[in-house]
C-alpha cells in the first residue's frame, strides 16, 4: 500500500457550480471548490447544510440538478458510482454482515477479478494498515463498532482508489475511540497520499484532521480555508459561532483606523477596535466576535504583551465555572452590552474570582472580527 505502488497518490477533485434541488427545496446551491490532490478536505456543517448531499453527488449516488464533478479533470456525470473508482466509507459502515472480514475486504478485488494470490496479498496489507491482522475469519457481528469501522476503511482502500469519500464515519464511536481514530485516519491518509473528502458536523474533528475545511450552511459554502484560517479569521458570524466558541458584541462602526481596522462602539457604550471581515463604512451596524481564550484579565500573565492599544473594558463576574484545565468566567458588561465568557487556564489562576467580583478585561484588536449586521 506504499504510495509508490499506486498510480501516483491522490487525484484532484473539483466541484463546479454543483447544485441539487429536491422539488422546490435547494439542498446544495452553486458549490464550487477544488480539493488538491493528496489533501485531506472536510465539508463541515450542521445537519441539513447540504454536506452529505454534496458528497453523494461526488460518489454518484445523487445526480446533480446542475453543475459538474471533475476527478483529475475528468467529468464524472456520465459514470455510475461503480465506474468512478472512488473509495467510500459510510456512516453506518455498511460492512456486509454475511461475509467475513476477509471476504469483505476482498470484495472489491474479486469484483475486479484480481488473481487469487494478489487478493490474498493485498487483503493482508490492508488488514495490516488498519491493524486488524488475525481478524480474517471473523464475522462483522463479532466485531466492535471501531473494528467494523476499520474493516470498512480497509475495504474502501484495498483497491487503491485515488479518492476516498467518508460520510461521518466516526459518528457512532465513543469520544476516546473517536479521537484515536481521527489521528489514525490522518496518518493513513498521509501514508497513502490519497485524496480524502470527509463529511462531518463535528468542528473539532474537522480541525484535527483536515488540511482544508469548507464550512457549509443552507446548501452554500460559507468559507473555505485551513483550520487556523477558519478559527482565527472567520469570514462570517456563522463560521465564528460554528467553529470553536465566540463572544459576540453588537455595535456600530465609528472610525476607520486604516488597514481594515475600525473603531467601534457597543450598544452599551463599550469602545473597541477590530478587523473587518468584509468592507465596512462608518456608522454601519456590526457584530464583533472575540474568542474566550483571547480575553485576558488585566494584570494577568500576557496582559502586558497586548500593549497600550489593547481593547479594554470593565465588568462584574456573574458566574465562575471550573472545568478542569480552565475556569470559565461569565462577565457582565452592563445591561446593553450583555456578557462575555472568558477562559482562564487554571495554571495561571493565582487569584480565583468569585461571583460578584469586579474584573477588568483586555484583548487585542487583531483578535476582534467585525461582521456587518442587518440593523434591527
Amino acid at each position: 500500500m506504499a504510495p509508490s505502488e499506486g498510480i501516483g497518490g491522490g487525484a484532484e477533485v473539483r466541484l463546479h457550480e454543483l447544485t441539487k434541488t429536491f422539488g422546490s427545496v435547494a439542498a446544495v446551491r452553486h458549490v464550487s471548490v477544488t480539493v488538491a490532490a493528496g489533501s485531506f478536505f472536510t465539508l463541515l456543517g450542521p445537519s441539513g447544510s447540504g454536506k452529505t448531499t454534496t458528497l453523494m453527488m461526488v460518489a454518484g449516488f445523487t445526480y446533480p440538478t446542475s453543475g459538474e464533478v471533475f476527478v483529475d479533470g475528468k467529468p464524472m456525470a456520465a459514470l455510475p458510482p461503480q465506474k468512478r473508482d472512488l473509495g467510500m466509507v459510510f456512516q453506518s459502515y455498511a460492512v456486509f454482515p454475511h461475509l467475513t472480514v476477509f471476504e469483505n475486504i476482498a470484495f472489491p478485488l474479486q469484483i475486479r477479478k484480481a488473481p487469487r494470490l494478489e487478493t490474498l496479498h493485498r487483503v493482508g496489507e490492508a488488514l495490516e494498515l488498519v491493524r486488524l491482522t488475525g481478524y480474517e475469519g471473523r464475522l462483522p457481528r463479532q466485531l466492535s463498532g471501531g473494528e467494523q469501522q476499520r474493516v470498512a476503511l480497509a475495504r474502501a482502500l484495498v483497491f487503491r482508489p485515488r479518492v476516498l469519500l467518508m460520510d461521518e464515519p466516526l459518528g457512532a464511536l465513543d469520544k476516546k475511540l473517536r479521537a484515536h481514530m481521527q489521528l489514525e485516519l490522518k496518518h493513513i491518509q498521509q501514508h497513502l497520499h490519497v485524496t480524502v473528502l470527509y463529511v462531518t458536523h463535528d468542528q473539532e474533528e474537522a480541525l484535527t484532521m483536515s488540511d482544508r475545511v469548507a464550512v457549509m450552511q443552507g446548501g452554500r459554502i460559507e468559507q473555505v480555508g485551513s483550520p487556523s484560517e477558519l478559527y482565527d479569521a472567520p469570514a462570517s458570524r456563522f463560521v465564528a459561532d460554528f467553529i470553536g466558541e465566540s463572544n459576540f458584541l453588537d455595535g456600530v462602526t465609528v472610525a476607520d483606523e486604516g488597514g481594515g481596522r475600525w473603531r467601534c462602539r457597543g450598544a452599551g457604550g463599550v469602545e473597541f477596535s477590530g478587523i473587518g471581515a468584509a468592507a465596512l463604512r462608518p456608522g454601519q451596524p456590526i457584530t464583533a466576535a472575540v474568542r474566550p481564550e483571547k480575553l485576558v484579565q488585566a494584570g494577568d500573565e500576557g496582559a502586558a504583551a497586548l500593549g497600550p492599544h489593547a481593547n479594554a473594558c470593565k465588568g462584574v463576574v456573574e458566574e465562575a465555572i471550573y472545568v478542569g484545565d480552565v475556569t470559565r468566567y461569565r462577565v457582565s458588561l452592563g445591561a446593553d452590552d450583555g456578557a462575555l465568557t472568558i477562559k482562564v487556564p487554571n495554571r495561571f489562576a493565582a487569584r480565583p474570582l468569585a461571583a460578584g467580583a469586579a474584573i477588568a478585561l483586555l484583548w487585542s484588536p487583531d483578535d476582534t472580527r467585525l461582521f456587518p449586521r442587518e440593523a434591527a
Binding site: 449516488f61 459510510f90 455498511a94 456486509f96 454482515p97 454475511h98 469484483i111 475486479r112 483497491f159
Partner: protein, 283 residues
C-alpha cells in the same frame, strides 16, 4: 428482591397472554388431542387405520402428490413473488403503499369466489384461451382447468401474497447502504444484487417458502374445484372420509400422518434456516 420483581413481570405477561392461551387450548389443543385419540380408537383401541394408510398404495401416492404439488406451487410463488417483493422494497414509498394494497386486495373476497373466477378465466372458452388463440400462441384451447396446471395456477394465485409480504418484510430491513457500498466498491447492479442483496434476503426466502409450502399441504377448495379426477390432494381424501364414507377415525389417522409429515418437514427446514441465520450474521 430482583427475583420477585422478575416473577411479577413474568406473571404480568402470563396474564396478558391468558385469553389467547385459553382460546388456543379450547379451540386447538383439545380438538387436536381428540383427533389423535380418534385415529387410534373405534370401539376399542386399534392401529388398523394407520396400517391401512401404509398398506393401500393410493394413500401414500396421494401424500406424495400433495407434497409434489405443494413444492411446485412454492417454487412458482417464489419465482413470481420475489421480484414483486423486490420492487416493493426498492420503489418510492408512495408507490410501495399502492402496490401493497394491490397485493393484499384479494384477501377482501372469499377464496371460493376467487377460485370460481379463475375457472371462468381458464375454461376451454375462457378469456385466457381466447386470447391465446387470437394471438396465435395456440391453435386449439389449452387444457388449463381440471388438471394439475389448473391446481398450480389456482393455488399459486391464492398463496402469492403470503410469499410477497414475507419476503418484502425481510427486504425492507436491508440497509440500502449495503447495496450502495457494493456499488462504491465497483460492483455492477447484477453483482451487487447477487453478492449482497440476495444473500441478505435469504431469511425472507426461507420464511416465505416455508409458509407457502405448509399452507399448500392442507389446501382443499382450490384443488377440489380446479383439479381433475387425478389431482386428489390429501385434504380432499380426509374430507371424503368425513363427509361420504363417514369413517372419522380413518380421516383422523390421515390428518395425523399429514401433521406428522409437516412437522418433520418443518424440523428439517428449520435446521437449514438456522444455518442461514449464522451466515446472515444479524444479532
Amino acid at each position: 428482591m430482583k427475583a420477585s420483581a422478575e416473577r411479577r413481570e413474568s406473571l404480568r405477561y402470563l396474564l396478558i397472554l391468558l385469553p389467547a392461551l385459553l382460546v388456543l387450548a379450547v379451540l386447538f389443543a383439545y380438538p387436536l388431542l381428540g383427533i389423535i385419540n380418534r385415529s387410534v380408537y373405534k370401539a376399542g383401541y386399534t392401529l388398523d387405520f394407520y396400517r391401512q394408510i401404509f398398506r393401500v398404495p393410493v394413500y401414500l401416492q396421494v401424500l406424495w402428490a400433495t407434497f409434489r404439488v405443494s413444492a411446485v406451487v412454492t417454487l412458482v410463488c417464489l419465482a413470481l413473488g420475489y421480484p414483486l417483493a423486490y420492487v416493493l422494497a426498492t420503489c418510492r414509498p408512495r408507490t410501495a403503499r399502492l402496490l401493497t394494497i394491490i397485493v393484499i386486495l384479494p384477501f377482501f373476497t372469499s377464496i371460493i369466489v376467487r377460485t370460481y373466477a379463475w375457472m371462468v378465466l381458464l375454461g376451454r372458452n375462457g378469456i385466457v384461451n381466447q386470447y391465446l388463440m387470437v394471438l396465435g400462441v395456440a391453435d386449439t384451447p389449452l387444457p388449463l382447468l381440471y388438471n394439475q396446471a389448473g391446481v398450480v395456477i389456482g393455488m399459486s394465485y391464492v398463496l402469492l401474497p403470503y410469499m410477497v409480504l414475507t419476503v418484502y418484510s425481510v427486504m425492507q430491513g436491508i440497509d440500502p447502504a449495503f447495496v450502495r457500498a457494493a456499488h462504491s466498491l465497483g460492483a455492477s447492479r447484477l453483482q451487487a444484487f447477487r453478492r449482497v442483496f440476495l444473500p441478505l434476503s435469504l431469511p425472507g426466502i426461507a420464511a416465505g417458502t416455508l409458509l407457502v409450502f405448509i399452507l399448500s399441504l392442507g389446501f382443499f377448495i382450490t384443488p377440489a374445484l380446479m383439479g381433475g379426477p387425478g389431482d386428489v390432494m390429501i385434504a380432499m381424501l380426509i374430507e371424503r372420509e368425513v363427509e361420504i364414507t363417514l369413517n372419522w377415525s380413518f380421516a383422523s389417522a390421515l390428518a395425523v400422518v399429514l401433521l406428522a409429515l409437516t412437522l418433520a418437514g418443518f424440523a428439517g427446514y428449520n435446521r437449514i434456516v438456522r444455518l442461514e441465520r449464522i451466515f446472515e450474521g444479524r444479532g
